[in-house]
Amino acid sequence: MNDTQTNSGQSRGGQSRGFWADAWARFRRKPLAMAALVFVGLLAAVAVFAPAIAGTKPVLCRYKGRIYAPALSYFDRRLEPTIFARDRFRGTYPRNLKEKDPDSWAIWPLVFQDPHRAVRENEWPGRPANPAKDEGRPSRINLCGTDQYGVDVFAKMVHGTTIALLVGVVSMGLAGTIGIVVGALGGYFGGWVDMLTSRITEIVMCVPTLVLILAVVAIVEKPTIWKTMAIIGATGWTGIARLTRGEFLRLRQSEFVTAARATGAGPVRIMLRHILPNALAPVLVPITFGIASAILTESALSFLGFGPPPPAASWGSLLNDARSNLSMWWLVVFPGVAIFLTVLAYNLIGEGLQEVTDPRLREARK
């Protein structure tokens, strides 16, 4: 990527830093953007280790001479070892483990609470049942309180982190792919291809997003979180397409493209290997902002009751529960702050990315 170095303005003499290394060095000097990046990393860790942070199934246990990891079943039901179903555990591990195999041992999650159901009395020896109705204020046992049915909010939020992160990444991955392909085709080929792609982009842009999403979500027979992600992605690519088109229009005139064409490179190769790397930085910015808005859209959908069905609890659906019972402020405050911080983090990352990759803004800071 030699041609990108001219952008960074440091290509004079010897081995200079590449465009991305340069951008990263600048990014690292932005405390807010870095804090946001660390926060997203932290969220990713929470998402990956969710069953070990909050759950009622052992992370690791030894039972009848073998070692199991029942907590994995929080990711997928099928990962629950069949032996526990055969021995009639019915989802309650602490007592059953001891009763049915006195030699067993287990490593428990940090917080013994379940995201899908209320913990019953004495399920964990000596621990009272989760309070239900509007009694479940935050306490030492229920860090963020419980909802109407006594399900622990902290556990729900920890397990909902996966959804929040996946929604952003998956839907924007899809939107980015569609947007870049559509924009690249229009910008590179021009003429009637451009006419067609621009029209399509304009049409999708003109249909109000929430209208389109609500209509499509209503059509889908069995809503799952994956379908919601696909829909958000399939409707959110227009801005990316327009920006990519602009970049491709600009770059296809440049000398290095002519040079590439002279060496006999085909259009696909030129688009992918020569133009795209140079157009990527400005396109990455709306993708990052798009992640923030995808998370917002998903929460809004769940909030309106159009989200994935239980037990998949996203942060937005927790807020939906709160609507009918506003005196349970903890149902609003904790998920609300979680959504807000995540959206803010992605916006800050996007902003930082914009500042370090846009040469015009960079000069302005000098």
Binding site: R199, V207, L212, A218, F303, L304, V333
Partner: protein
């Protein structure tokens, strides 16, 4: 100019047809029909027997495939007829007419407030750019911008309707008015205003954060221009430079922004109106989707798309008006 307008209008018409075609197809393919959704949900015993359903379907024109239905709808629209709502038994135009006022009350007030506060804020931020107070304000606005409206709405509801209940600060949770229809107009106005405070706040703060940041970004670009240096050099005061020389040159992008806010002004916000059960367009749209009320869905989509396209056209035309250097061709 004339040919440009004609071309834009024709293209707009094509876009409109494509949008309505897509939305009609989507709407008709949602599971359930207005008949089954409406009656079956409220009371299972009132579910229509098959013969009645067939008869009703025929009356509503649901027995035909959806593309035929679309053509029929299109023909009616061309004659100025948006059809009758299935669930509300009223012409769609009447429904829209009823809802447009409440929505405009919220969004118009919010837009006015946004501009009244946003322009000074943006100017202030660019005047004191880089200083501690400006950095704090900008950060606060940025944080506000990331704050989801529905979370803010719930927070406000908790504070003003639950925690402050019984005090003079208490604000109503839902709806537009609690008073009977025969109350005096002054009392009604006060009542509606009290109901409108929270939704207006929610709708204002996000666009305020966005607009003032937008103004500041444009101003920052403007103050780096040579003519600003010239103005300073000839001895114009800082206020005059800022307002007369810089701000006037940032009006063009602002005009575009204004044009693009047109659809929201009348289309309203689904989420805010849904949270505060405000009887506006956004809520009407949400309900019509739930009730599978095809004529209403289509009427609202058509209106919204027309406004979006019109807003874009208006923005482009205004652009030429404020900047003689730009030509539509």
């Amino acid at each position: 100019m004339g040919t440009y307008l004609l071309r834009r209008l024709l293209l707009g018409l094509l876009t409109l047809m494509a949008i309505t075609f897509i939305v009609y197809g989507l709407a008709r393919n949602m599971p359930g029909t207005p008949l089954t959704v409406q009656l079956g949900e409220s009371d299972p015993s009132r579910k229509l027997n098959p013969e009645d359903q067939e008869r009703m379907k025929k009356i509503y024109g649901l027995d035909r495939p959806w593309h035929e239905g679309y053509l029929r709808w299109l023909g009616n629209v061309a004659r100025g007829d948006l059809g009758r709502s299935f669930s509300r038994k009223q012409p769609v135009t009447t429904l829209i007419g009823e809802r447009i006022g409440p929505t405009f009350l919220i969004s118009g007030t919010a837009l006015l407030l946004t501009w009244l506060l946003g322009v000074p804020l943006g100017l202030y931020a660019s005047a004191r750019s880089g200083l501690a107070d400006e950095r704090a304000t900008s950060l606060l606005l940025y944080v506000l911008y990331s704050f989801p409206t529905f979370v803010a709405a719930l927070f406000l509801q908790i504070v003003f309707a639950v925690w402050l209940r019984g005090t003079s600060w208490e604000l109503p949770l839902f709806g537009m008015s609690d008073l009977p229809a025969d109350a005096g107009w002054a009392a009604r106005a006060v009542d509606i205003a009290r109901h409108a405070i929270l939704p207006v706040t929610c709708q204002t703060y996000v666009s305020l954060a966005y607009d003032s940041r937008f103004i500041k970004a444009n101003m920052e670009e403007a103050v780096r221009q040579d003519y600003i240096r010239t103005a300073r050099a000839k001895g114009a005061g800082p206020g005059r430079v800022l307002f007369h020389h810089a701000f006037r040159n940032t009006l063009i992008p602002l005009v575009t922004l204004l044009g693009l806010s047109l659809p929201g002004l009348i289309g309203g916000s689904v989420i805010i109106e849904q949270i505060f059960t405000w009887p506006g367009m956004g809520r009407l749209f949400f309900e019509s989707i739930r009730e599978r009320d095809y004529p209403t869905i289509m009427g609202l989509t058509l209106m919204f798309s027309v406004l979006t396209l019109l807003g874009q056209l208006l923005a482009d035309l205004l652009y030429c008006l404020v900047d003689p250097r730009v030509s539509v061709e």
